[in-house]
Symmetry: C2
Subunit: 341 residues, 2 copies
């Protein structure tokens, strides 16, 4: 049998409320009984049940975390940092991979509500904002990170996607590239990236042909496929802006396969600055997100809202940073990345 507060009380020859008081450091108990109780707890290897205490109205000390896919190193890093910070704040986290799939989002949300989580961190796109609204109605605070969910009022921590993308595009432009394709993911954060790309191009009087905008999912495979499509287009391209590192890696693999030299014949730029960007050859120029800082901020914001529900919502916009490495180079006259077939 697991020891309970009763076993401890009995063994220490006090009442359960006394034990409760020493556990929670409430009320006044003499140092003598306090020591006695602590001793007995250690001896019995007693761990107070969060389940029972939660039932009386106290928090479960659990945070739910919805990520698209932890296999994506960007989210692995983010999840790691979120966990670390949560533990520091006395919470633990239940993580669910949604694959950006509406079914799973719904299923996991219900799971988390039943578990009586104290708060939720959403790091994935979310199709069905209504489900989230229901959580808010039940007083479960929500914070969103690296994503944005329209029509609901929550704390938000994101990198300035528009600026990051503008930085990237502008850099390509400064290298005299004009025929630039972009591969994006169909997610809110990526919309801002696409907008910035378009704006930067337009400011330089460049019109982006629709076929040079490819929307797909975040994976190396999809990046590879998208690149292949781009290489075989009539309208040639000298640079590709991939809206995340996974896609960029796929592009570089495709380039290698088709003997398109990066960066000589094709400049590639990514987004996220994951391990992969320093591990690939040539090392990837990319836009860094301050994951750690973002993680600390969402957790803190969430915890703050648990304590002070009335407070107004915060929208943190952190600075992205362009990390210039070896996958980008000035335009070489006559360069075109294409498949000769």
């Amino acid at each position: 049998m697991k020891p309970t507060i009763y076993s401890v009380a009995e063994e220490a020859d006090v009442s359960i409320s006394t034990v409760s008081k020493v556990i929670n450091q409430t009320g006044h108990i003499s140092e003598r009984t306090r020591q006695k109780v602590i001793e007995v707890m250690a001896q019995l290897n007693y761990h107070p049940s969060v389940v029972a205490s939660a039932l009386t109205g106290k928090p479960t000390k659990t945070i739910g975390l919805l990520v698209p896919d932890i296999s994506n190193p960007f989210f692995a890093d983010l999840a790691r940092s979120i966990e670390d910070r949560s533990h520091e704040q006395g919470f633990h986290v239940v993580m669910c991979n949604t694959d950006n799939n509406a079914e799973k989002e719904k299923k996991y949300l219900s799971l988390l509500i039943r578990q009586r989580i104290d708060g939720l961190i959403v790091a994935s796109a979310f199709r069905n904002a209504n489900l989230l609204k229901n959580m808010l109605k039940q007083d479960i605070p929500i914070s969103v990170i690296a994503s944005e969910i329209p029509h609901i009022s929550v704390n938000t921590v994101t990198v300035d996607d528009y600026k990051g993308s503008y930085l990237a595009t502008d850099y390509l432009l400064s290298l005299h590239h004009e025929k630039i394709a972009i591969i994006t993911e169909n997610a809110k954060s990526n919309h801002a990236r696409l907008d910035a790309f378009r704006d930067a191009m337009q400011e330089n009087g460049i019109i982006v042909p629709p076929e040079h905008v490819i929307t797909t999912e975040a994976s190396i495979q999809k990046g590879y496929e998208s690149a292949k499509r781009i290489f075989s287009m009539k309208e040639k391209v000298t640079a590709i802006f991939a809206c995340n590192d996974l896609l960029a890696i796929g592009v570089m693999q495709a380039a290698k396969e088709f003997k398109i030299d990066v960066p000589q014949d094709l400049s590639v730029i990514g987004f996220d600055n994951t391990v992969l960007s320093t591990t690939i050859t040539p090392m990837l120029t990319t836009v860094a997100q301050p994951t750690k800082e973002m993680a600390v901020n969402v957790v803190d914001l969430l915890v703050r809202e648990m304590k002070y529900p009335a407070i107004h919502k915060e929208h943190l916009l952190l600075e992205p940073k362009l990390i210039i490495r070896k996958s980008t180079a000035p335009l070489k006259r006559g360069a075109t990345a294409s498949i000769n077939n």
Copy 2:
């Protein structure tokens, strides 16, 4: 206010036990009342509290997962698969990153016990087996994956580390390499890998000088540092066996920095077959672990033990597979990987 079983009962004009019965599909209730109750639950947006039900002795449907570090793609993949399988089995998982740090192991274990997890999956080395024994005493089943913990009797799922390592070493030997260094991590699984390496070498009459065995932690940085040390040794080397991909990547980065050509002047072989191995140039020869299969098996074994505690412990040993890629080549006469300084 969150709706409770009472609100539902009242609204549906039945007793709480009737509601309980429709939730748990126990007892006999007329289709008519059943429909009525279901309707009211939906209308009130009611989600039965796992907290309350757990207090009555039912399972919390929570599995604890201890990993060293989710930033390591191998563990990210593993964690992902474990989660998927757990969800399929009706459980959710609370993940903690231990960094192989005894302090954290202890802290998180206590956390998980307080949460009344139904079972624990350990994917990390574990210094203090006694803590685990205490859990077993409290009837919390434990399964271990990709690791081994001496002196405790639990279900275990591992890849055949000895065989995997033997395969790798043997392959290097078949390429006529004799001066091979090994970089290992100080973990149980790595001991088997080291043993196999030594055995294979010895069977070929090769004595491994102690300095060619480096023990360190699993990270790209440590791999890089270890390689640098190896390169500057008197006793030169033509191949390095890194006991995980992270270390191997570090080795390759060091080689590149010192203009040591892989695989011409140095063959490198890794272990785990993570994304990184196909993303690096040249692509890494490595030993693949069947992560998905391993994950499914630990979860199933754990769930089985929750149901039938008496059953004897299982020790699954899955087959590793040598994946030959481009980081290994036949010994080139006169090749030595070293720094000229």
